[in-house]
């Protein structure tokens, strides 16, 4: 799928659905308010319900928090050790010869999160479905219902690439580093810190710019905007190809939409602050900036 540069259309996917090497996954997660008194800002609920209500024929379901995240932290959706990931992707039938297609419902952010994780492990035969299940349904394409049948387990070979994930200390260093830009994918009013945050202190990583993930999607179709339009938005914030980019959001999910488009645009030096505001806003030792 090298010719697709990370993106596959619904029509292209429909034409390869019967390919035995295809590994197709619904990556959707939902969030629910945490019980009162809980220290976590929200609960992660796997999207099995909506998967069972309707999925692209043959697809399997991936549970981001349950199977593919670090269970030893209260922060949600944190990158776990590579061994855990290798075992989990193997259980879902991904091996060297697989063609992986990822999608999610209502927003591509869950699919792009998995895209970023798999890319960081050196897996390249990988695309995200443009418009996700929403566009697929809108076009009246076939759906299947019921629980995931899964793929036959396989051996997933890990070839980790360094630098895909950074922590708060590296992000703090990046705020004053030369030739580096820190970009926030949250909405502008939360970037400005003018509204209460779900994470604690309102505001942003000092000096960071803002390319809201929502502005990189067509609100009607949920498809990605064109690469030319995306490049314009990034360039307007000083994000140019010569820069190292550190992206963050609230929980390391929506920032992967920014990273996906930057990657498709050919930006080479990309990284994700995995803890994002879920960690930064709570840590009073870290500086925070508001308008």
């Amino acid at each position: 799928m090298s010719g697709r540069n990370g993106l596959i259309s619904t029509a292209e996917l429909a034409s390869i659905l019967d390919r035995p090497t295809l590994r197709l996954f619904d990556c959707t997660t939902y969030l629910e308010p945490a019980p009162e008194g809980s220290s976590v800002p929200y609960l992660a609920v796997p999207g099995r319900h909506s998967f069972e209500a309707g999925h692209i024929p043959g697809a399997d379901f991936l549970d981001l928090q349950g199977e593919f995240s670090d269970q030893s932290t209260e922060l949600r959706f944190m990158m776990p050790g590579v061994e855990q990931l290798a075992a989990a992707f193997g259980r879902h039938g991904i091996s060297d010869g697989s063609e992986v297609v990822l999608y999610s419902i209502s927003t591509p952010m869950w699919a792009t999160r998995f895209w970023w994780m798999l890319t960081s492990l050196g897996f390249e035969n990988l695309t995200v479905l443009d418009g996700g299940l929403d566009k697929w349904k809108l076009e009246g394409r076939a759906l299947e219902t019921g629980p995931a049948k899964g793929y036959k387990s396989a051996t997933f070979t890990v070839k980790p690439k360094p630098g895909f994930f950074v922590d708060k200390n590296a992000t703090l260093e990046a705020t004053t580093a030369d030739n580096t830009v820190v970009v926030n994918a949250l909405g502008p009013q939360f970037h400005k810190g003018l509204e209460p945050s779900r994470y604690g202190r309102p505001g942003r990583v000092p000096g960071s710019c803002n390319v809201s993930a929502a502005t990189l999607l067509d609100p009607k179709t949920k498809a990605f905007i064109s690469l030319a339009d995306a490049e314009e938005k990034f360039a307007a914030q000083g994000i140019t190809r010569d820069k190292r980019v550190v992206a963050y959001c609230g929980g390391g999910i929506s920032a992967t939409i920014d990273l996906f488009l930057l990657h498709r645009l050919g930006y080479q030096n990309l990284t994700l602050y995995d803890g994002s505001m879920g960690e930064w806003a709570k840590d009073a030792s870290l500086p925070i900036e508001t308008d």
Binding site: Y30, L31, P41, Y42, S106, T107, A185, R198, K220, S254
Partner: protein, 87 residues
């Protein structure tokens, strides 16, 4: 017991609602919003009321709405209804 503050009708309330509604509509995915209204006592001209502008928002799917709030960084909102019916 804390007293409930009731104030005279304030003619600025409709404009406050309009501003807030505009801001919300600019932020939220239009395909998810079914309705967004000025609700309760501050919406009734001339009526004394608690000075809180109530704005119920009807959404097509509450769980997708929550994902959108998460992507924006907005605080979570509790639902009274059960959105599983609207999948």
């Amino acid at each position: 017991m804390d007293g409930i503050e009731i104030v005279d009708y304030d003619p600025r309330w409709p404009a406050l609602f309009d501003d807030e509604a505009k801001r919300l509509r600019a932020t939220l995915d239009p395909s998810l919003i079914v309705g967004l209204e000025h609700f309760g006592s501050t919406s009734i001209p001339g009526l004394s009321a608690k000075p809180i502008i109530d704005i119920p928002i009807a959404v097509r799917s509450f769980r997708h709405f929550q994902n959108q709030l998460f992507a924006e960084g907005a605080p979570m909102i509790s639902a009274d209804g059960d959105d599983r019916l609207t999948a």
